[in-house]
């Protein structure tokens, strides 16, 4: 909590159908643990982790939601404050992939318009049970212009990477916002300049930049 320790706190919401592995990914990421047993999440859970984002300490505050229908009203209340959303499906479950459009619509309706989204296809280790091919996920992600990774909580594939990507995008978004705010404050500028700025910042802090391991 001490501001000296952490530069910022990023609030991240994990969404997706029931049983796609939302709780699992949060446990894997925050506690480096993996449980093979599935337990339905009640309402909402919460974990946090301090990471080093290119040298800056950042607190990742991760909200794990229940995927079940009966908690929709409750969980929707958490969309608003989220800076990032990790949307998940299960590559062995076609329906969880089909429902992504529902989730994206839900996000659009309830979350802040500049919330950062990433898409994760979980259980990519389960080769024999795969129902959703990787390029299906890729295509959908391109359509919505969001980063996409296939992950595995069981084998710890891409877990850190996807959260780090999310964190980077949140940081870009925020520094862009701060800049535009300052710009507005300084000279009361119009939209043209902000657009310019956006492309400039994106260039600067692009993902091509090598990143350090967080461990």
């Amino acid at each position: 909590m001490a501001p000296a320790e952490c530069e910022a706190t990023y609030k991240v919401l994990v969404l997706g159908d029931s049983n796609v592995g939302k709780t699992c990914i949060v446990h894997r990421y925050c506690d480096q643990t993996y449980y093979d047993t599935y337990i339905s999440t009640i309402g909402i859970d919460f974990k946090q982790k301090i990471i080093s984002l290119d040298g800056t300490p950042i607190k990742m505050q991760i909200w794990d939601t229940a995927g079940q229908e009966r908690f929709r009203t409750l969980t929707t209340a958490y969309y608003r404050g989220a800076m990032g959303i990790l949307l998940m499906y299960d590559v062995t479950n076609q329906e969880s992939f089909n429902n992504l459009t529902y989730w994206l619509k839900n996000i659009e309706e309830n979350a802040s318009p500049d919330v950062i989204k990433v898409l994760a296809g979980n259980k990519c280790d389960a080769v024999s049970q795969r129902m959703v091919e990787q390029d299906m996920g890729q295509k959908l992600a391109e359509n919505y212009d969001i980063p996409f990774y296939e992950v595995s909580c069981k084998q710890n594939i891409n877990i850190d990477k996807i959260f780090l990507t999310l964190a980077r995008h949140i940081r870009e978004q925020r520094s862009y916002q701060q800049l535009t705010e300052r710009e507005h404050y300084d000279s009361g500028q119009n939209g043209n300049i902000t657009l310019d700025l956006k492309s400039r910042i994106l260039e600067h802090t692009s993902l091509k930049e090598p990143w350090k391991c967080t461990c």
């Binding site: 009640i42 909402i44 505050q61 009966r70």
Partner: protein, 596 residues
Amino acid sequence: MADNCNDQSWIAELESALKEDGSVDIDGVNEDPFIPDALRPEIWKSCLFFNHHKPPYFDEIFDLPEQKIIREDCQNFVDKLGNAEEEKLCVISDVECLVSTYCRNTGISYTRGNGWLDLLAPLLALGLHTEDTYSLFEGLRSRYVPRSYGELWALFRLLLLYHDPNLCSFLDTKKISPESYAAPWFQTLFAAPCSLPVVTKIWDLYFQQADPFFMLFLGLVIIINAKDHLLSLKDSSKEAVCEAVSSIPSGLQESDIEDLFALAQEYASRTPGSFRQDLERRVFEDDEVAEGAEKISQALCLPVSVSELVENIHLPPAIGEELLRFFLVDCRPADQYNAGHLPTAFHLDPTLMLQGTSVYKMAVQGLLSAQQQALDAGSSAGGEHLCFIGCGALHEDQYTHMVVAGFLRDYRPYVSILSGGYHALHNYFGDNVEETMSDHNQESCRVCLESGSQAGNQNVGTNGSSTSPSKDLFGKIGAVVKSKSAEVKDKLLEYIVNPTGGNVSERHVSPNDRRGKRYRGGSAVFTIDDSPTVPYAYMGGDEEEEDSQYETVSVSAWKTRPDLIASFECQEVKMNGQTYERRRLFKKFLPFKGKS
């Protein structure tokens, strides 16, 4: 015939009144709560004929669209009854006639597997005339068989969550909703899964409860009783578990029924009853969907209404001991808590959760040990049942819900949430907020600030007359309650905010709570002959003075057996209704009880 019938039903009514008393009084003359076979038809009639329709018109010609299905099903059904071959045809035509007439009269169409035939079986076994069987069937359907199930399943799940979160989570994880195993239980009032003698006994007792929701508690006992078996099936498929659950009632024996009911009564008395108010109309009467219908199916845990909570807080400990008592946990941000809260509410700052799990865990532990000590000391602030209070708006209660979810995840039973939160509480007290809340500060209280002058006008203008009777009531209670536990809670707050305080709470809670008990007094609460007794001197306004004898009895009776008295009239009391109006309802029940 008509005279004869009236005569009989009068005798039956008397008999049933006696029976009812017998089941209530454990030391009563008649130890067997079941109804003798000979009296059963009349007693069931008096229990079920509650809307006296003119006798239905039976013609023998039916041409409903679903007639073919009805005929087929009736044939199959009668085949299973095992009548003699020569009777069969007659019985089949009787049953078909009953079902078809019911369809025609009510406009509800028959669908296969809707449980009607199962419901008819115990009624047919009474051997009554078709008209009487019909009326029984109609009464049964209109009174005890739910009309809409969606919310009933949600409610049943919440009740299970309330009493056994572990089992509930197990079934959730298996993705088994109550719908998939309990549908035949409630649709047929256990007639489908149980044998005829068993179901007859269940109904004997069930009708005496006169509480349609009681079926849920029977279901609850049945399922919780089989918990160990069910949990051992954790590696089985969904279907296998589902099958295992739904077949539990078929193992019931006649000898189990009395215990089953005793347990169900126990569960019912340990369950907050507010859900009845909201749901009775929607589940058992017309299927009109009132606003807020979504609430129960989307609820995180069992909701408790403000009126139930307030009433519960003000129960003297003497009454409350064997009943459910709430331990109030206020989960609003600290500044809001400090600007006004219930005197008996303890504060748990949910933002501690964000600061790190260890801090939060210590706070929770402190809270729970305070709860234990309050319980040990018999304080009115103590209770086994946790009731969480949030702000009352979904987006503001994010942290509250997270805390509640955390408790549920730890499989803590008896977790409920105040519906509408502090906001509703504030509105309920209206003008009396100052006296009833501790540390209430108009300048910083969110609800006061939000409503501003608007609230003031409202209270003076529209509520002017209605709030006045409750004014001194709350005032008096407020004063009593206030002084009692303010200190306790402050210490706890201190402790929770600075968890390093170690055993601070231990030292402070008990002495204060004992003081609280002294205030409450209340040994004379149950006595009828005493004129206004100590606790009711606080509660009774001027208007109630002359009724105070009745009140003492009825309130306590209602409290000891909510399932018995909490019938429709009581539940029609609105949350904002005046207190003495509620009392008037109690009086209504008294003659009924008194005569027996």
